[in-house]
């Protein structure tokens, strides 16, 4: 217990902290610029925010090039390949979200600079999360991610649905944080440390006790809320539908990824135990979460007529797929096959990277189409191929990629997921693999419901000219489209990032 107290004078590695510092500076600049510039120049804040995010990517690149792991604050804050990869991902996702928001926010009746401040603060939390190797740092990072998003979800302040979205999200967020915190306090009580490495070695030598199992379960439930795993998912569709669409994109990609990164940190560095002995305690629970999320996420998505709600349920199902490698690591760890864990975690990272690209791309098209139709109903996509073929083709790419059809990036995400669980073997593993396989076929139905509308249906009466897409949005769609195609054909680029992370 003394370990937590006897921290010597902290050593700051300024290079390692540079991305965080740049982000904080950007937040300050956006705030100050809002005070100095008149309101009609508020669009500048999106420009400042995007430049700040890109600037934060520069130290990420130099850190990646320097190539050695940096550890600070007695191992509570680590900048290694894994952290760098995810920080880069979070910043890129934030940048794309800013591109999606630029026209949406400036054309609507919103607080403008405040939007970017909240967005960047949440992104800051994610960047910290990737490096957090300590329960307290991890918790603070998670709250830094969540609290700004509560406000962002309710950002359409004159809209009751949006207010409901925010309040629902807030209440669930607080509840899950409370559960998690209680679980963490029990873990500290049992293991005597908040550092994940020390928790891991405690579990490795002592195995799991019943109290520790309870603690692990409580924190798992907390995380299950954050990543909207079934049966803790019910807030997600309402929140996603009510929030402004760029915020929904951010929630479903970056914020969800934040939850998964927290889960990787706590499960892989902590509960797994240094030798896999801890896996007995939790793999069964994660198995159930994964199977339920895939199945009920899909079943929910099948019934939707609103594309944002459909994408909400689809992200629940995709979350279920992302939980599968955790099960693989757990099963293998319980069997004493240690090697599978690292491979499984890199599968999660690869899945997150690819999922981020395809989901952001899909939301970008949703925002572009809604500019014309003012609707998120799937029926409003009728005949899009006839009116705006480029948008229709890119949306088809994103939907097919989400469905996991080669040669689009999504297939590789699914592939590494299957690979980890088959490698783990055992009857339970194979059973989950088959559930995942059946679900990936079911998912085809709702993704292709959109594709069918776009290609097979006649366009509605009225304006039949191509939808005009503003440059920022077009840039986002183009970038994500290129990623989805290039990674689909040459997955090695992302696979290498995932492999080096562990």
């Amino acid at each position: 217990m003394l370990a937590a107290i006897t921290n010597a004078t902290p050593v700051f590695d300024w290079h390692a902290l540079a991305p965080e510092i740049v982000l904080v500076a950007t937040i300050a600049v956006v705030l100050i610029a809002d005070l100095l510039f008149p309101d009609r120049d508020a669009w500048q804040s999106s420009r400042i925010a995007s430049i700040g995010v890109l600037a934060a990517l520069i130290p990420i690149a130099t850190l990646a090039a320097s190539g050695h792991d940096r550890s600070m604050f007695g191992g509570a804050y680590v900048v290694d390949h894994y952290a760098i990869a995810l920080q880069g991902f979070f910043l890129a996702a934030t940048y794309v979200t800013i591109l999606l928001s630029a026209d949406y926010i400036s054309e609507g009746d919103y607080y403008k600079s405040e939007f970017y401040v909240l967005l960047l603060t949440s992104a800051f939390g994610m960047v910290v999360m990737a490096s957090a190797r300590d329960l307290i740092t991890l918790f603070v990072a998670l709250e830094t991610i969540s609290i700004p998003t509560f406000i962002l979800a309710a950002f359409r302040k004159h809209d009751r649905v949006s207010n409901e979205a925010g309040v629902k999200y807030y209440l669930i967020g607080v509840l899950s944080s409370a559960l998690m915190l209680y679980g963490m306090s029990l873990i500290f009580g049992v293991t005597g440390s908040t550092k994940l490495v020390e928790i891991g070695s405690y579990v490795g030598t002592h195995g799991t006790t019943s109290l520790l199992t309870v603690a692990v379960f409580l924190s798992l439930i907390g995380f299950a809320f954050k990543i909207s795993a079934v049966p803790f998912h019910f807030w997600a569709p309402d929140t996603y539908e009510g929030a402004p669409t760029p915020v929904t994109a951010f929630l479903s990609v970056a914020s969800k990824a934040g939850g998964f990164v927290a889960l990787i940190n706590i499960v892989y560095f902590g509960f797994y135990g240094s030798n896999g002995r801890g896996a007995h305690a939790w793999w069964g629970a994660v198995w159930v979460l994964a199977a339920l999320s895939m199945t009920f996420g899909n079943l929910g998505a099948l019934r939707q007529t609103n594309i944002v709600r459909m994408l909400a349920y689809s992200s629940i199902a995709q979350g279920g797929f992302m939980l599968v490698p955790f099960v693989a690591a757990g099963i293998a760890g319980a069997e004493g096959k240690i090697g599978v864990a690292a491979e499984s975690m890199s599968a999660v990272v690869i899945y997150l990277l690819i999922y981020g690209a395809m989901n952001l791309g899909a939301f970008a098209v949703v925002i572009a189409v809604a500019r014309r139709t003012k609707s998120a109903e799937i029926s409003s996509y009728s005949g899009l191929f006839a009116t705006s073929p480029v948008l229709a083709v890119t949306m088809t790419l994103f939907m097919a990629s989400l469905a996991g059809i080669p040669p689009l990036a999504g297939w590789f995400a699914k592939f590494v997921m299957f690979r980890s669980i088959i490698d783990a073997g055992t009857g339970w593993g194979i059973a989950l693999a088959i559930i995942a396989a059946v679900n990936s076929v079911v998912a085809f139905f709702y993704y292709f419901a959109v594709v069918r509308r776009m290609w097979f249906a006649e366009p509605a009466e009225g304006d039949r000219t191509a939808i005009r897409v503003p440059p920022a949005l077009a840039g986002a769609i183009a970038m994500m489209g290129v990623v989805v195609v290039v990674i689909g054909i040459y997955p090695q680029l992302f696979a290498r990032i995932g492999e080096r992370a562990f």
Binding site: F385, A386, P389, A400, I405, P406, P407, W411, F412, F415, V416, F418, R419, I422, D423, G425, A433, I434, A437, V438, S440, V441, F444, F445, F448, R452, W455, F456, Y490, P491, Q492, A495, R496, G498, E499
Partner: protein, 518 residues
């Protein structure tokens, strides 16, 4: 190795890919340019396959030729490994040939809603997948190419298809996707469970098809082999399609535009049977041996069921679709004997079926174009209103029912004959029973095909078309059909054109299977 040898196979997928990208960049209004680009791309691809065939060393048919092995996804140990042997060469040439002809046929025949740009781009993307599947020598590469064909065919049916096109396209997609999901799990299980170190020193796990084919599932217990085989079986059998997984096929064929039906019948169905020959049998010979009686049984059920299905049809195209089920039944029966005789016959059967049924779909499409219907009760007297087309139809019907001297005979007859003496260890009475059933199936085949010919071509035109001016074969149709018709005759007279290519590779493979079992 000179430049051509190391690039030829890659070109067969690269040229269509480049062609598709170029097409997408051309504005939609430039229709002539679009057609020429597509034609040149498919012609260049076809020329490449001919070049490959001409430089193929037949005396070394057992070895992979034009072999290229490059890094692709190192992290999962998967390589860009392409190569061909005597088994894949005929399929690759057939694919290049039929795709090229399909572009010619489409020239003035674009179905509604027209849009040649999208239609031709889809054909080119389809060709990437088809050619790629035949050249891939890495399981993951194979899987990716195998799946690439899904999207273009889905859109081809769904956008350019008949009245019930949405249902048909989704059914097609869903069946295939389900099969390939399980197939992928089987591939992964092969990767992790099979030990390839006896043949590739220093490496234990591999996706390399050559390595996996050489070790014959070493290190796998029989029950695991059987399970893995079951997963692959589902993937391939749905694609073939075998009874009882065939139900997507009649719908897809009936609704697809003419060119879509032709490509579906001529090439896509072959991907499944090719998968059996290339992957399932050599990699898991013991499981193949266990499963062979079941495969043979489903195959003969397919033969009879397809034939009976034909007799119940009123739509000409649907009838041809059911006849495909029956014909692929012969192919699968031949494969299930696990003999070199049978597998040679299967490959020949695939080529012959591709040409003949492709031709029948072309004619059905042209008749639909002329008459505006495919209902056989309304058609009749084709021989009087459009005699040339009528004679071509008659010729193709004869070829399809297996008349000696035409290509169909060499697919069907040896297939039946091969089940007289299946591979050692398989039940001889059972396979002889299959042989009798299959032979009865040929009688049925003659029945339904002649019945269709009689309904459509003989007699006098029905009153509603009595005064209609029916176009006989147009110049574009001649350009498309003559090469196919000539080839049907040529293969019928000189079947060795194909057998000569396939025999060594097939014998080599079946010997290896036989030794692995015993």
């Amino acid at each position: 190795m000179n430049w051509f040898d190391s690039w030829a196979l890659t070109l067969t997928v690269l040229i269509p890919a480049v062609g598709a990208v170029v097409l997408m960049l051309i504005p939609r209004a430039e229709e002539a340019l679009i057609k020429w680009v597509a034609l040149i791309a498919t012609l260049a691809t076809f020329a490449t396959t001919i070049g490959i065939a001409s430089r193929f060393k037949f005396s070394k048919g057992t070895l992979l030729q034009f072999d290229v092995n490059k890094h692709w996804i190192d992290v999962i140990n998967s390589h860009y490994h392409v190569g061909i042997d005597g088994i894949s060469l005929p399929m690759l040439v057939l694919s290049g040939f039929i795709t090229f002809l399909c572009v010619i046929y489409s020239w003035n025949h674009f179905p509604e809603p027209h849009n040649p740009k999208a239609f031709l781009a889809l054909i080119l993307i389809l060709e990437i997948g088809m050619n790629g599947t035949f050249i891939a020598q890495d399981l993951i590469l194979f899987f990716v190419f195998f799946e690439i064909v899904l999207l273009p065919m889905f859109f081809m049916i769904g956008v350019w298809g008949g009245p019930n096109r949405e249902y048909a396209s989704i059914k097609f997609f869903l069946f295939t996707l389900f099969g390939s999901a399980l197939m992928l799990l089987s591939f992964l299980a092969l990767y992790f469970k099979v030990d390839v170190s006896p043949h590739v020193p220093g490496i234990q796990h591999s996706f390399d098809m050559v390595a996996l084919s050489r070790v014959h599932g070493a290190g796998l217990v029989r029950s695991t082999q059987n399970l893995i085989f079951a997963g692959m079986f589902l993937g391939f059998a749905i694609k073939v399609p075998m009874f009882p997984f065939h139900t997507w096929l009649p719908d897809a064929h009936t609704e697809a535009p003419t060119v879509g039906s032709v490509l579906l019948a001529a090439i896509l169905l072959k991907l499944g049977a090719y998968g059996f020959i290339r992957i399932a049998l050599p990699m898991l010979p013991e499981a193949a041996h266990t499963w062979a009686p079941w495969i043979g049984g489903l195959a003969v059920i397919g033969i009879i069921y397809g034939a009976l299905g034909c007799l119940a049809q009123t739509d000409m195209k649907r009838l041809i679709a059911f006849s495909s089920v029956a014909h692929m039944g012969f192919v699968m029966l031949a494969i299930s004997t696990l003999t070199s005789f049978g597998i040679n016959a299967a490959i020949f059967g695939m080529v012959a079926h591709g040409l003949i049924t492709g031709m029948l779909f072309f004619i059905a499409g042209s008749m639909q174009h002329n008459y505006g219907t495919r209902q056989m009760s309304r058609l009749g007297g084709l021989l009087t209103s459009a005699p040339k087309m009528g004679w071509i139809l008659g010729f193709c019907v004869m070829a399809s029912l297996g008349l000696p001297g035409l290509a169909g005979f060499w697919g069907e007859f040896p297939a039946i004959l091969s089940s007289f003496s299946p591979a050692a260890g398989l039940s001889i009475p059972l396979f002889r029973f299959y042989m009798v059933v299959a032979a009865v199936g040929t009688v049925f085949a003659a029945g339904y095909l002649l019945w269709m010919l009689q309904k459509v071509a003989f007699g006098v035109p029905k009153p509603e078309f009595a005064d209609a001016h029916i176009h006989d074969v147009s110049s574009f149709e001649w350009a498309t059909w003559i090469p196919i018709l000539l080839l049907i005759v040529a293969l019928g007279v000189f079947p060795n054109i194909v057998f000569h290519v396939t025999d060594r590779a097939v014998t080599h493979m079946t010997n290896a299977i036989a030794s692995a079992i015993s």
